[in-house]
């Protein structure tokens, strides 16, 4: 680990989300399932644990969890109330 800055932001998972869902979600509006805050995904907090954890920048609730291994990916969006996908 190169740095103690464990908190990144949604820009850092732009490529990963593109790989998973096929479009660039950094500017996509997401709605927190905890507090209802609307933010572009780039403005969410991102942590790297055993997998990737995306948290609301306002209430710190978990919005997205991503695990990848052995050619599979698991994407848990249960903490995201809504995600706006632009055409």
């Amino acid at each position: 680990m190169e740095t103690r800055d464990l908190k990144l932001d949604g820009n850092a998972i732009g490529g990963l989300m593109l790989e998973l869902v096929g479009s660039d979600l950094t500017a996509a509006i997401s709605v927190c399932g905890g507090c209802g805050a609307h933010e572009e995904m780039a403005r969410l907090d991102v942590y790297t644990g055993a997998g990737i954890v995306v948290r609301c920048r306002h209430c710190e609730a978990v919005m997205i969890r991503i695990v990848q291994g052995r050619g599979r990916s698991w994407l848990d969006l249960s903490g995201t109330a809504s995600l706006q996908l632009d055409q």
Partner: protein
């Protein structure tokens, strides 16, 4: 999105720790100022390491990355110390629809860079010059020493054009004799001196470590800026 093979077309040492790599990637679709890409290296034994790097060049210019060596990193020591012209690696992108500056809005832009956080902001600065924008743009660069300032001479040239582009330097660790710029880390007082008045509703782009970005954003909000004006990009553990 697929990985593209890219060949290193040119290498330029910017500072002792920082290098710019110009890449030739067949099929690269072009990019917007502020975007990044994912870069992947594959070792002979098949081990792969992947990192994200900001794009330094203006849209339409040859694809260039500027990379800082992190001593215990897995990818950056190779890119900064070992990579040679003709070496091949893989890239995918461009990535990012949020931390981008297209130059199509009239408000002033305030760009705030911590160390190598200047890279995507340099793409915006170059784009500003390239499209002959007259919108005010001010780039605030925090570096440790003068020798650590990335793009120093080009920034001087861009400033000399007199097209509304300005640079403010702060050197936080060591200053040369006669230095008249700032000598400390970004703080609310410094920001209140260099920021455009809140009444002009500037667009703000901040890039650096989490600590740097948080300090800059908090200071600007203290100066009356709306959180929605401030776009940030933090780099850290994934940027090695």
């Amino acid at each position: 999105m697929t990985w593209l093979t890219a060949e290193i077309a040119a290498v330029n040492q910017e500072t002792p720790r920082v290098r710019t790599l110009e890449l030739a990637a067949r099929g690269w679709p072009g990019h917007r100022a502020g975007q990044h890409l994912d870069l992947r290296l594959t070792a002979e034994d098949g081990y792969q390491a992947q990192r994200s790097y900001s794009i330094a060049s203006a849209p339409g210019e040859p694809l260039a990355l500027t990379v800082e060596r992190l001593d215990d990193g897995e990818v950056s020591p190779y890119l900064v110390d070992e990579a040679r012209e003709g070496d091949r690696l893989e890239v995918r992108g461009p990535i990012g629809g949020y931390f981008v500056w297209d130059g199509d809005e009239p408000q002033p832009s305030l760009l705030i860079a911590g160390g190598s956080g200047v890279v995507p902001l340099m793409a915006m600065s170059r784009h500003h010059a390239q499209i002959e924008s007259r919108a005010p743009m001010r780039l605030v660069v925090s570096s440790r020493t003068l020798a650590d300032v990335i793009y120093r001479e080009e920034l001087n040239r861009l400033t000399a054009k007199g097209d509304g582009f300005e640079v403010v330097h702060t050197l936080t660790r060591e200053q040369p004799p006669g230095w008249t710029g700032y000598t400390r880390r970004i703080d609310p007082e410094l920001l209140s001196e260099v920021a455009f008045p809140a009444a002009e509703a500037p667009r703000v782009y901040v890039c650096g470590s989490t600590r740097f970005v948080d300090a800059a954003a908090d200071g600007l909000i203290e100066a009356g800026y709306e959180p929605g004006w401030i776009r940030t990009e933090r780099f850290g553990a994934t940027g090695s």
